[in-house]
Point group: C2
Amino acid sequence: MSDQLSDTKKYVIGTKQQYSKSFSFEDVNAFAKLTGDVNPIHINREAAAESIFKQVVVHGMLTSALFSTIFGTIYPGKGTIYLGQTLKFVKPVFLDEVIVAEVELTALVEEKRIGTFSTRCTNAKGEVVIVGEAKLLMP
Amino acid sequence: MSDQLSDTKKYVIGTKQQYSKSFSFEDVNAFAKLTGDVNPIHINREAAAESIFKQVVVHGMLTSALFSTIFGTIYPGKGTIYLGQTLKFVKPVFLDEVIVAEVELTALVEEKRIGTFSTRCTNAKGEVVIVGEAKLLMP
């Protein structure tokens, strides 16, 4: 029993982790090629200038991937299995903006090892650009 | 009034659109570099072989981006604004598997131009690998 307990990672509700990144025009073009999402608002500066956002917008799924970066490489890290994610794209993310992704452990079903995290991305002005919730199978 | 009506695209509940794609080891490595998600299960064949999945797994967010590809480039297409997406990662996606992403318009609030879509990705065995729902501001 004590062995079993010592094998189980301890998780503290309220634990937060962050990861910051910006995306260049080249990054967004590379993502467009990888996914086929060649919507002009992401890859054509002239077309984007005529859009409601007046400039190139980073793909929402590219920015959202920063949550996965935290989960898979920082916390909980290796062995994490991503079960689900909800995403609200509250504001557009523009090229070269430093985006801070933050996750916070809000609930844990210990016997099933299922962790719930609030997740959000914030821009340099402090505006929330993406908000949602993640479910993970904890390592 | 008739002008206004003719300016409004007609959307039919039940409309479906698909997009198919597979991801190579190089694609997954490129995505890892773009996002910082260098979890060994995505980029290290040896480490992945020792994982529960026994092989390299494509990032969930990379596969999920195929929904955005449909919305931004096929249907509804140009001018679409992505409001939100829910994702359940039901099964892992492996390298070079052909994944079919499919979206279906399930509801429309005409006065707000908000469309709801069911979204899912299926592998070549016909297994659903990702399922969820999207909200769009329709063009």
